[in-house]
Amino acid sequence: MIIGLDTGGTHVDAVIVEDGKIIDTAKKNTNKDNLFISIWETLEELLKNKNLNSIKKVNLSTTISTNAVIEGKNNPVAMFIESGPGIDPSNFTCGDYTVFLNGYIDHRGREIKPFSSELVHKEAKKIISKGVKAASVVTKFSTRNLSHELAIKNILKDYGFSPITMGHKLSGNLSFPRRIYTAYLNSTVYNSFNNFSIAIKNAFINKGINIPIHILKADGGTLELENASIYPVQTILSGPAASVMGCLAFFNLNSDAILLDIGGTTTDISFLADGVPLLVPNGITISNYPTLIRSIYNVSIGLGGDSAIKVNEKGEIVIGPKRQGPPMALDGLTPTPSDAMIVLGKLNFGNRKKALEAMKIIGDKLNINPEEMAKKIYDKFGEIIKHKVFSLLKEINSKPVYTIHELLYSKKIKPKKIIAIGGPAKAVSHILEEKFRIPCKVPKNYDIANAVGAALAKRTFEINLMADTECKKLSVPEMGIYKNIDNSYSLDKAKKDAIELLIEGTKDFYVDYNPDDIEITEESSFNMVRGFFTSGKNIRVKAQIKPGLIQRIGGINNA
């Protein structure tokens, strides 16, 4: 049995899943001031009368880190930043104290100039005396050479700084500004997350349950609580990922598809490419901080069942982007798409008379009878989604390419199916099919899709290996590896090493090991020529344990 839990804005949902069957569910209101209590109460209800020994694992999708960022309930952070030449690093100032260091590592990871350790000592002393304990250390190109970040961290440790986040451990991808923001966020949400993680761990132990606890990440994978406690930034914005993984759990999808989570206020749009969730290219953005955190592509638009409907000066119907209370059928004051769908008999709740009234208010302005008005609004609802989805697809399909082969042959996403979840999903599926001219499916248990998605998600991990045989250096920043190699190192060896490292990096926690989940996502080897001779190879390999499900609902691969 596996437990999955999703923390939403209004409810906490939890499920127990076994062999592709949902055994039981629980639901509680979200207490925003004490998420731990909300989560634990939901789990306690779910675990009532269960054989606790048969629970193998628990996966939680929480909003602890996300809320800490958004609400600003954070630790003050001292940032130690080493930039070298380039864009002025003061553009990326965040945190409460920033120290700019004067060392420099270049694009190949070579040390051009050491940093001044006196300056680090001096500033560290000053900052710690002000009671600031959390620090982040970020140097440019630290993914190519982590030695400066490590050396600075070691100095800070002696002054009692804790936590100290090093940029290279968060992601092997390039982007100095994103590395700065990600490292800042990790240190600043550290205490909030650790208060939670300690509480939840103790709660399980007190109940006599000793099982792996995993936290859902924005890429649709999980991370064990121990690591999440060190890198809590990895757990931000996991909600949309839970919903996407939930959609995957109900259907066997191998084609390109559109995933829609249609709620009261917003509609979330994601995509599948050959059945695999599409990720954002660089990392997710939270509260205006672009990060290096891998995430499922998810765009939210202000359109939902309860969106306010107005008629503008040009006599056009405008739906959303704001919600102004419930539908009129539920005694609200503003006409909504839900009212239209109630009039059309597609939704069955509230007072139909009041819904008709809502349509009359809008219809009168346009000289259209209420039933016709409802049809028009229903049509417009589908039209807005179609328009947005097509413009997103256009953007996605023109992503930058760097090789002639990619330019000529790279894959374009062409959805063959829509999966919709959320309150109005069933009601709008008809218009979506009409607009997109592809089938639209709505799973039966969509209200617990997020919790199911969390339950069935797998541990994910990505590493970036770079080997420079001229410098004779190999670097795998995510695993803190920076070591010497000889000049016979090859692309084949790099791929083999990357796969071994992935397994090694996750073996302690990797209860669902499956060799098929491991893949090399990027590989390249450039001949380096200096003068007229090949002087080395520049090898780059990106490998991952890919996001996916350990099983589907309705039996493994059987839906």
Binding site: I87, H107, P290, L408, N527
Partner: protein
């Protein structure tokens, strides 16, 4: 997050799967470190900087500029079509107002490609700027365009293509041709009878530093642009004037390239040469991008930069001052000079030898331009390669008068097939291209 003061479109296409040969300067690795630097700096996250993918230039786009022998499909590889297509996409982004300015960081380069193309010279097969410029004119009307070629090598191909076209002001600043490939680009190469003075060469002495380049810009190029009033300014942005470039002898810097682009304020920049792939390109491209986007580039410096390294001698400073004053006087007196040279002439004939260094082909050309009072004049090129091929190329200019149009078609029709390996007619008035074997 940073926000660009001027919206900038980037076509960044490093063609990581294409090379001339494994150890050639024009190889897969060339833009690798530039890409790393741009990614690490977060350039693609800057609000107002947008990436565009290249399109693929078509046969028709190429035939508007070149006479490829035997033809476009045989002679022009995909890589060059994409590089030209990258320049086209950059121009479109600006002219469709998708962005204010654009920079095509593409490879391979193009400015050594002449009108007639037997093969590869100076790593170029087709002239990517010219293909772009003629595409702009076809799609957006006959604009007045200034091309400022800041590559260290003379832009001899671009000069050849716009030799007799005064709607295109071509200014090339480069290392003196007596000391560097392709060996041309002297101040007396001023253009044909239809565009005399609209082709300006600024041959700079070896070891010219930041000071010299910026002097030329401030005291010669900017005043001339002020008078010419182009609709579009293009920077043919070669980066081999850099002090670390392995195949040239100049002392320009990333800061210098930044300043140059800030002052020149080009609408479109297109990468040309530049082969110091680790020490120069990552920093120069960063500097140009920031300058074009109106952002601060004052901290963009090479790791080994010192002001002493790039200073120039007093002698060079003096030489450049005199050079600029001579060239400016040519520009000012262009009409009088043309009158003296071309008055009462029916045709102006030039003989040229063009060497395709990459492919080892020697070409001999006779270019005959009609001195016409109603248009810039019909151009007739007879070409012979040392491989035994003989070509006749007839060019009717964009402003071609009825008489020149008729003459061009007449000559194409009446020239017998046996005399040449191939006969071409490029009718720029009607955007037509004919050829016969």
């Amino acid at each position: 997050m940073l926000k660009a003061k001027k919206r900038l479109g980037l076509v960044f296409f490093p063609a990581f799967d294409w090379q001339i040969s494994p150890t050639h300067p024009e190889r897969e690795e060339r833009l690798l470190y530039t890409m790393d630097q741009l990614k690490e700096e977060g350039i693609f996250d800057i609000d107002g900087i947008e990436l565009f993918n290249p399109v693929i230039a078509t046969e028709k786009d190429i035939n508007r500029v070149h006479f490829c022998y035997p033809d476009v499909n045989t002679k022009v590889p995909k890589s060059h079509l994409i590089s030209a297509g990258g320049a086209i996409r950059a121009a479109e982004a600006v002219l469709n107002n998708e962005t204010e300015k654009s920079f095509a960081i593409v490879r391979p380069p193009g400015h050594h490609a002449h009108r007639i193309v037997y093969g590869d010279r100076g790593f170029c097969i087709i002239n990517i700027e010219a293909v772009m410029v003629e595409y702009i004119r076809k799609k957006y009307g006959n604009k007045k365009i200034a091309i400022i070629d800041t590559d260290c090598h003379h832009g001899d191909g671009t000069q050849d293509i716009y030799w007799n076209d005064k709607d295109t002001l071509f200014i090339s600043l480069h290392q003196d041709g007596r000391t560097l490939f392709p060996g041309s680009g002297f101040q007396d190469e001023l253009g044909g009878p239809g565009a005399f003075g609209y082709n300006l060469n600024i041959p700079l002495p070896p070891n010219t530093g930041e000071e010299g380049f910026l002097y030329v810009l401030d005291n010669l190029i900017l005043p001339i642009l002020e008078e010419y009033k182009p609709d579009i300014i293009i920077n043919s942005a070669g980066q081999d004037n850099h002090y670390t470039d392995p195949i040239t002898n100049m002392n320009f810097t990333a800061q210098g390239y930044g300043k140059l682009n800030e002052k020149l304020n080009p609408d479109i920049a297109v990468l040309e040469g530049g082969y110091s792939i680790e020490g120069a390109l990552p920093y120069i491209n960063l500097g140009i991008i920031l300058a074009m986007a109106g952002l601060d580039y004052s901290k963009v410096k090479e790791p080994d930069y010192t002001p002493e390294k790039v200073s120039q001698s007093e002698e060079i400073t003096k030489y450049i001052k005199r050079l600029c004053s001579d060239i400016y006087s040519n520009w000012k007196n262009r009409e009088a000079l043309a009158e003296k040279l071309f008055k009462d002439k029916e045709y102006v004939i030039r003989n040229k030898r063009i060497y395709y260094d990459t492919d080892g082909i020697m070409e001999n050309q006779e270019e005959k331009i009609k001195v016409c009072s109603s248009c810039s004049g019909l151009i007739i090129i007879k070409s012979k390669s040392d491989r035994g091929d003989k070509l006749l190329a007839i060019i009717i200019p964009r402003d071609g008068c009825d008489s020149c149009i008729n003459k061009g078609y007449e000559l194409y029709k009446t020239t017998q097939k046996g005399k040449f390996s191939k006969i071409y007619l490029q009718d720029k008035v009607n955007d037509e291209f004919f050829s016969k074997i």
